[in-house]
């Protein structure tokens, strides 16, 4: 059963958190520490276009994982469907590239 499989994940989550707390409680060597001012600096956001394109392609990856599992059993038709999908997305990347969006500011 699927749910039983993930019981290990839950158990490991509990064990991992417990271990971390244990380490936090026990391992306390003295380290040299320096006080620095808090981070009020203004950062430039260098990659907004990259980030938004990443979000779009993340959606694409969602579709590609199930497709990849069933592709070999469905043959040419599935291949053509994905060809169209990839062509659409490649058009997107090409547009962004040629418009100069793929740049770190």
């Amino acid at each position: 059963m699927i749910v039983d499989h993930y019981a290990l994940v839950g158990l490991l989550a509990l064990i991992g958190t417990g271990l971390s707390l244990l380490v936090a409680g026990l391992y306390r060597p003295d380290l040299p520490v320096v006080e620095v001012p808090a981070a009020w600096a203004s950062y430039r956001f260098g990659f907004p276009v990259y980030a938004l394109i990443f979000l779009s392609f993340d959606m694409e990856m969602i579709f590609m994982y199930p497709w990849a599992v069933v592709f070999a059993d469905l043959g040419l038709e599935a291949f053509l469907d994905m060809l169209v999908f990839i062509a659409i997305l490649s058009a997107g990347i090409t547009y962004a590239w040629k418009m100069g969006g793929l740049r770190w500011e």
Binding site: L12, L19, P32, R103
Partner: protein, 301 residues
Amino acid sequence: MELTLRALGVLAALGLAALLTHFFEPAALSDAQERGPATPAGARGPVELAPNPDRWMHPAGPVTALLGVLFALIVIPYGPDLVPRDLGIGVFYFIVVVDFVVLGLSLGGWGANTRNSVDVYYRATAQLVAYVVPLGLAYIGAIMMARSLSTVSIVDAQAGMWFVVLQPIGFALYLVTGLMQAYRPPFVEPFAAFIEHGVYGASFAWQALLWRLALSSLLFLVAAMGAVLYLGGWRGPLLPGPVWMLLKTFGLMAIMVWGGSRVPLLSTGRMLELSWKVLTPIGLANVLVVGALILLGVGPS
């Protein structure tokens, strides 16, 4: 109970992986100028603390990263029946939980509230934006040939021929994006010396220990998943499964780390450019090529 045994097995795997990587990695990085997560404790500067850290987010960082690495160790097979849990969607699950490490870097970096650590947060998120899509495309080739998302099925599908022979482009893509995922040179900017070695510069001692554990295991995991996807996992003629698995994992780790340390370091902007202008188109082309190969009958039946 059986579940506890499996959990203990995962913990043992974590300890072993981190320990072996901890001693193996500096040997492969010997003449690199920037060691990234492998920076030894003596080479790091003093810990920087801000007057007002976020006291929930800052400790949550390394804990989240450790949890991510623990979860990811579940699906790595070490032998014919030696996998802590064969999830039906193993490979997809793996890629998702390794993102927990990035989440941990964000929490820890932001929570510490020093200028350098918030810089780590930005750069780590930029690296996430760079690596996820090409890495997924590198996985997809192997998934297509194996017809399954389960790591055990992918290893079984390579009984005839390893996927590295059938999909060399995919393998090369995995080498590069795996390095990006593991924050090793040349993609090491979130851990560079000029920002006080990343989260190490803003963590208390126990946090630095957990970070070291998580990041070493992350490199092991990336190499192990590469061995599973492209090098046939535990399959091999004479030696038992786990031995082959370790050999392949550390071999791949050596190739990746050694090769990566020879290349000049990439800044975050160049890395994003590389990822979106080169790696993603190559990945998409790889998917189409592998699709054509499968339609022509190449690969496991």
